[in-house]
């Protein structure tokens, strides 16, 4: 039934809507980005080929490498902190104590609420004169005088990371929690019978068995964080003086702010190359993990 020609035709008929949709809305734009990156396209409808000029310009300008490094550092810290807090959260929510279900529900809001709304709330909290963080720190006497978190380069850099972590943590936590619960209970029981303590069991049973989940989530989170736009756009718009400008923000400003489509496309192509590398690593890791499981 499955391998006849009519079955194949039927399968492609079922796939056709999804294929056509994705081809027009994602695959074609991906192709168009590459084409545009070799032109001087702007708002007007006609444009000329300029060869590698866009690439020469962005790599010649000097600050592009700086932006790439900043993006990688920003992403690295954000993903690492998400994984650590997510793991702590999963351990805490996995404990068999009253209130478990309620705590799990309370973890979800940052993930479910429109991202932009959560970010507005953070924007107010970071406000130097009237916001909660600066206000509470002053009330407790930890800092004397207001701290405008988004006004200085390095504090703004970390402030945007904290907000990104906040949005990502619920998903990581719930995902790790599910992975933790899929570990066979017998293993823990056997170790417990042999007198292994909680910490020892976590290090020797839970962590190794969760490794596939940790690797999968890190890579998925890496790709999502690398593409993060809303947070920095709303909180700092890349400022102050470019200290939080990541590659996505930079591309957006070039393309939508200055309407330099050609140059913006060249910057987008560089992002796509990075994403493709992450993608390859991800697929390879998933395949290897799958094989490991089969053996």
């Amino acid at each position: 039934m499955t391998s006849t020609r009519s079955a194949t035709i039927f399968a492609f008929a079922l796939l056709a809507p999804a294929l056509i949709y994705i081809s027009i809305i994602v695959a074609y734009p991906l192709f168009d980005t590459v084409v545009l990156s070799f032109t001087n396209a702007q708002l007007r409808p006609t444009y000329d080929w300029v060869g590698w000029a866009n690439y020469q310009r962005i790599f010649g300008a000097g600050n592009f490498t700086e932006i790439i490094i900043r993006t990688l550092v920003w992403t690295f810290f954000s993903v690492s902190i998400k994984m650590i807090i997510g793991m702590c959260g999963a351990v805490l929510l996995n404990a068999a104590i009253p209130g478990q279900t309620v705590f799990r529900i309370l973890t979800m809001p940052p993930w479910i609420v429109p991202m932009a709304i959560g970010i507005y709330m953070w924007a107010w909290m970071y406000n130097g004169n009237f916001g909660m963080i600066s206000g509470l720190l002053q009330n407790f006497g930890i800092t004397n005088g207001p701290v405008a978190w988004l006004a200085y380069g390095h504090t703004a850099f970390w402030a945007t990371i904290v907000t990104d972590v906040w949005i990502g943590v619920p998903m990581v936590t719930i995902y790790f929690l599910a992975a933790m619960q899929s570990i066979p209970k017998d293993l823990h029981e056997a170790a417990w019978t042999d007198g292994a303590g909680r910490f020892y069991r976590f290090r020797r049973i839970t962590l190794p068995l969760m490794l596939p989940a940790i690797i999968t989530m890190s890579l998925l989170s890496l790709i999502a964080t690398f593409n993060s736009f809303d947070i920095i756009y709303i909180l700092t718009n890349g400022g102050p003086s470019g200290q939080t400008t990541t590659m996505i923000i930079d591309t957006y400003k070039t393309a939508m702010g200055s309407r330099k489509y050609g140059e913006g496309a060249a910057r987008a192509v560089v992002i796509c190359i990075f994403v493709s590398i992450f993608c390859l690593v991800y697929f390879r890791a998933v395949r290897r993990l799958g094989q490991g499981e089969a053996k």
Binding site: L14, D32, I112, A178
Partner: protein, 312 residues
């Protein structure tokens, strides 16, 4: 070969259910003891959870308190966490300061609903094709769908903008709906395919033997059985569409009557000062319905999140 694989698969699906009851009885006493905590461990756990949840919920707590404070108190020092003579005035005044607020909230739901309908309509047949037919290139095609998922709308903004302009969709609902749906399709296909793989193939084959057409089998045999999976996909899609409607709305639409809430809230950024209390009040009114629904559907959310786990 595939028949052997199939029988083992079915056996694997059945076995836990058969083994479970016995194991449960045996394990209960051990598990009760393994889960017993010392008093200081319980204290540490609750303290840890309190810190964790404070981090997660702080913006909402602060946002709610801000919505109760009058603007004059907001912009005064020293900072006070608890509102003095707080009131719900902002919740009434906001409708006057931003007259289109109700429309923004409606737009948010409307856009997410249409996106969900499109995604489900496209994804159900595609997931079935991937789950049941071993046609040439199936693996490659599935991989391509997933790879597409990795490129965000933000990267493809320039050609998408040109495409939307070319199709004449700029400044319409569709400028937000069409690209919004595209980026949610791949992960939904993956999720539903995983679910459909668990439906025994014998059902399709029995229908086939009885002379049912393929389309009839899909409609009358598979769809009813896959309904729980489709519900999960629909919920995940709705959440995705609802949580991420910012960049397309910001870039592809400038008409205020079509704006969803996240962009519509810009209206509170007035000429001189930001109406923070009303902004927060509007945010809460806008997200409240979803929050309430989530409390009831959280089981599905967890299921959706974990089934999407790429494990194969």
């Amino acid at each position: 070969m595939s028949d052997v694989a199939r029988t083992t698969e079915v056996a694997a699906v059945d076995s836990p259910a058969l083994v479970k009851p016995q194991r449960k009885v045996k394990a209960r006493s051990t598990r009760a003891m393994i889960d017993r905590y010392q008093w200081y461990e319980v204290v540490a756990l609750y303290a840890g959870i309190a810190v964790f949840l404070f981090f997660v919920l702080a913006p909402f707590i602060e946002g709610f308190l801000v919505s109760l404070k009058p603007l004059a108190q907001l912009f005064s020092t020293p900072y006070s966490f608890i509102p003095k003579n707080g009131s719900f005035d902002a919740y009434f005044n906001m409708w006057n300061s931003v007259p289109l607020l109700g429309l923004y909230i409606f737009n948010s739901f409307f856009i997410s609903t249409i996106v969900t309908l499109i995604v489900v309509a496209v994804v159900v047949p595609a997931a079935y094709a991937f789950a049941r037919f071993n046609f040439a290139g199936a693996g490659l095609l599935l991989g391509m769908f997933l790879a597409v998922n990795m490129f965000s709308g933000a990267v493809l903004l320039i050609p998408l903008f040109r495409l939307m302009r070319g199709l004449g969709l700029l400044n319409t609902y569709f400028a937000m709906i069409v690209p919004g749906a595209a980026f949610l399709i791949p992960s939904s296909i993956w999720l539903l395919r995983t679910y459909m793989l668990r439906i025994p193939r014998e059902l399709d084959e029995a229908a086939w033997v009885d002379g049912a057409s393929r389309l009839y089998t899909l409609r009358r045999v598979i769809l009813p059985l896959a309904m729980p999976g489709i519900v999960v996909v629909a919920i995940m899609t709705f959440i995705g569409a609802y949580a991420q409607q910012f960049i397309f709305a910001l870039t592809f639409n400038s008409k205020s009557e079509f704006m969803p809430l996240p962009v519509g809230l810009f209206a509170f950024f007035g000429k001189q000062e930001v109406q923070w209390n009303e902004l927060m009040a509007a945010s809460f009114v806008g997200i409240l319905p979803v929050m309430v629904v989530i409390v009831f559907l959280q089981r599905y959310l967890v299921a959706g999140l974990t089934a999407g786990a790429v494990k194969q």
